[in-house]
């Protein structure tokens, strides 16, 4: 793996079966040259634990049937606690309009709703993920 390869953790709760979109996204990010780790999580802390272990630059959480607010709260809170605010957090799936502003206040940088293309996600990640190329070895 090149040092500047963007590493992305994609997650979806194991309670939900609507994972067609996020699985598709995983293959598209991979095809775009990113390193993708995919997990089905039970509790939100698993996302952060995995993100730290895998040293990812981006966390993407997919949610289609609510439950996204507590996850967003927990993920942003724990990352901030660990001083990892430079990890880019994005959400996708079916997120009601009313929740988007509060999620952004928490630290979620973008929410990709129905109809979003994989290309728009790739472009956003490339434009906003932390840079690895100048990281010290």
């Amino acid at each position: 793996m090149a040092k500047d390869t963007i590493r992305v953790l994609l997650g979806k709760t194991t309670m939900e079966c609507h994972d067609r979109g996020v699985r598709y996204l995983a293959t598209k990010l991979r095809d775009a040259g990113m390193e993708v780790i995919f997990i089905n999580f039970l509790e939100a802390r698993e996302i952060v634990d995995t993100a730290i272990e895998e040293d990812v630059d981006v966390i993407g959480v997919s949610s289609s049937v609510e439950g996204h607010m507590p996850v967003a709260r927990e993920v942003t809170r724990r990352l901030a606690e660990l001083g990892k605010e430079d990890v880019l957090i994005i959400f996708g799936g079916v997120i009601p309009e009313r929740d988007i502003a509060p999620m952004k206040t928490m630290g979620v940088r973008e929410v990709f709703g129905p109809g979003s293309s994989a290309d728009s996600v790739i472009e956003f990640i490339r434009g906003n993920a932390r840079s690895r190329s100048f990281a010290l070895d």
Partner: protein
């Protein structure tokens, strides 16, 4: 082991015997020579028109959504050589439908999926839809009830992972008390209840059975469904049990119901979930049969005869966009399943029937211009009716946005009712039978699906092929999405006829108190129940689960009902199953 009472198995030899060799092959050679000549003439006319559009007929390709090649039109010789197409509705291999009388005396059952919030919230919607004419068989009411995500995972609502998910996408029902909140006042022996669960199949049925016993209703008189969707972990991320454990749990239920609940449907083959995950129609047909036959074989190994349990297997099949392919898929599926079950030793026609609950596709509905979805679901429903299914759930037009509002739910029911009562399509059985195109496409799907089925069977059957099946389905899902993104597949409102105008529709909002109340209830239940009785019942259940893991059927389910009756919750009952049969066990 369960006693085998073969005298109870009725046989209708005439309807169940393949193949109808006495029916001569279709069409005489002279006639076919004439129709081939007609096709040659037609080709010339077609080529002339194509030329005006700058199209070379030699390079002109048509295909179904599954990718099966099509001709621009079909002739009698395209369906010559087959005789089973000519069989009557109600005879093997049931291409034309399961029954001699299709909808003539009884139309398909209306089975909208219901379930959200607290059991009282769900009950309100059940009563409302019943008042709007939601009708099952013989005038009874079918309640198609979905449990929430927390329950699917086998958790209780006070588990940390449950936050924000209680009563979402299903109802917050975790105990016998909650069953009472759902069903008190309803005649349990005269309604039909589908418990839509994923992995918590046995716990929720145990709650229902304990509740029925408290009401004094014998289990033998209960009608309804358990889903046994364990094999779904092949194509969705949710997974509580390894494939083999799931099969063991399904076989346990089949054995229990064969002895105690003759009216209960034990296994539901969820082709719908496959197509929603991205499978093509051909894959849905093939992998549905593969999953069903794998479970059926396991039941036979447990000591049952196919005619004792196969008639209680049902199918939930998708109706998506490719109108004719979806219809032909259903016809082909009936043939494939009938042949496979006959091979397994089934002789009772009912054991070879693909009883279908059709679910119109949610995946092809759009968040953009949501009212368009009413038009899409109308077409899907019409297709399901023309293919001759037994029951239907029609997705609501707000499917892509949220749980259906009362208005959207009612409209979805009206789609069924208008087609049922106004269109006249229910008058004649198999109205498309004999169409050269429909018969040819039915056979095409059957042949292609048979190849996929053989592939899975050669690899040891469905439960050994989860990764293989997942990869196939993901390929199809990716192809579909790539085609939409590239504009090769048209989705009105998404990549064609896009409008910036918003269709302002009401979005369902869940009772905000549901989660708090559900948590309080489960805590109050644990505090107030007879702890000694609960402890004994849970210890018995633990031993029963060990015995099931060691291969002994018939002890787990009764122990689970006792634990449910001692007020064990869904999370507690599932905990025992996960301990002995879950991923972490040394199984």
């Amino acid at each position: 082991m369960m006693g085998v009472d073969t005298t109870a198995v009725k046989s209708d030899a005439a309807a169940g015997e393949p193949p109808p060799e006495r029916i001569p092959r279709q069409f005489n050679p002279e006639f076919l020579e004439a129709t081939r000549e007609l096709e040659r003439q037609w080709q010339k006319s077609f080529a002339a028109i194509a030329a005006k559009f700058g199209v070379d007929p030699a390079n002109y390709r048509l295909a179904t959504d599954s990718g099966l090649p099509l001709k621009p039109t079909y002739f009698p010789h395209d369906v010559a050589g087959r005789s089973d197409d000519a069989a009557a509705p109600g005879t093997f291999p049931f291409t034309r439908g399961l029954y001699a009388a299709q909808y003539q005396f009884m139309p398909w059952a209306n089975q909208p999926v219901i379930g959200y919030g607290l059991p009282e919230d769900t009950r309100k919607r059940m009563d409302y839809l019943q008042s709007q004419g939601m009708t099952g068989y013989f005038g009874s009411t079918f309640y198609n009830l979905v449990y929430d995500l927390v329950s699917h995972e086998g958790l209780d609502p006070d588990h940390p992972a449950a936050e924000g998910r209680v009563g979402q996408c299903g109802m917050a029902v975790y105990s016998v008390q909650d069953q009472a909140r759902l069903f008190d006042g309803l005649p349990l022996d005269r309604i039909n209840v589908v418990h839509i669960s994923y992995y918590e199949v046995l716990p929720v049925l145990a709650h229902y059975l304990a509740y029925a016993r408290r009401r004094g209703v014998p289990w033998s008189r209960l009608g309804g469904n358990s889903m046994s969707w364990y094999y779904q972990s092949a194509y969705v991320g949710m997974t509580c049990f390894p494939p083999k454990s799931g099969m063991v749990l399904a076989v346990e239920l089949v054995n229990f119901c064969t002895s105690h609940m003759p009216r209960w449907n034990t296994v539901n083959i969820f082709g719908y979930g496959m197509e929603e995950a991205g499978a093509t129609a051909v894959q849905e047909a093939a992998y549905s049969v593969a999953a069903g036959i794998d479970y059926a074989r396991a039941c036979v190994v447990s000591g049952l005869h196919p005619d004792q349990f196969l008639s209680r297997f049902g199918f939930q099949i998708s109706q998506a966009n490719d109108f004719f392919e979806e219809i032909c898929k259903v016809r082909a599926l009936r043939r494939l399943w009938a042949r496979k079950c006959h091979e397994l030793g089934a002789r009772d026609p009912k054991s070879m029937h693909v009883r279908i609950h059709s679910h119109t596709s949610g995946a092809v509905l759009t968040a953009q211009q949501p009212l368009n979805n009413l038009i899409r679901t109308t077409l899907h429903t019409l297709g399901a009716a023309l293919s001759g299914v037994q029951a239907m759930e029609v997705s609501s037009f707000d499917e892509a946005l949220a749980i259906p509002t009362e208005h959207a739910h009612t409209m979805a029911l009206r789609v069924q009712q208008i087609i049922q009562d106004e269109s006249g399509i229910a008058r004649v059985a198999d109205p498309l039978g004999g169409s050269y195109y429909v018969e040819h496409l039915t056979s095409q799907i059957e042949q292609e699906a048979q190849k996929l089925l053989d592939e899975v069977e050669a690899r040891g059957g469905f439960h050994r092929c989860h990764d293989f099946i997942r990869a196939r389905i993901e390929e199809s899902a990716a192809r579909w999405r790539d085609e939409v993104d590239a504009g090769r597949r048209i989705v009105v409102g998404v990549n064609k006829h896009v409008s910036s105008e918003m269709q302002d529709i009401e979005i369902f909002k869940l009772n905000p108190e549901a989660e708090r109340v559900a948590v309080e209830r489960v805590r109050a239940l644990r505090a107030s129940r007879d702890k000694e009785r609960w402890g004994r019942a849970m210890a018995d259940l633990d031993r029963a689960a060990q015995r099931l893991r060691d291969g002994e059927y018939g002890v787990l389910m009764p122990a689970m009902v006792e634990a449910a009756d001692a007020d064990a919750t869904t999370g507690e009952l599932m905990g025992v199953l996960k301990k002995h049969l879950g991923w972490s066990s040394p199984y």
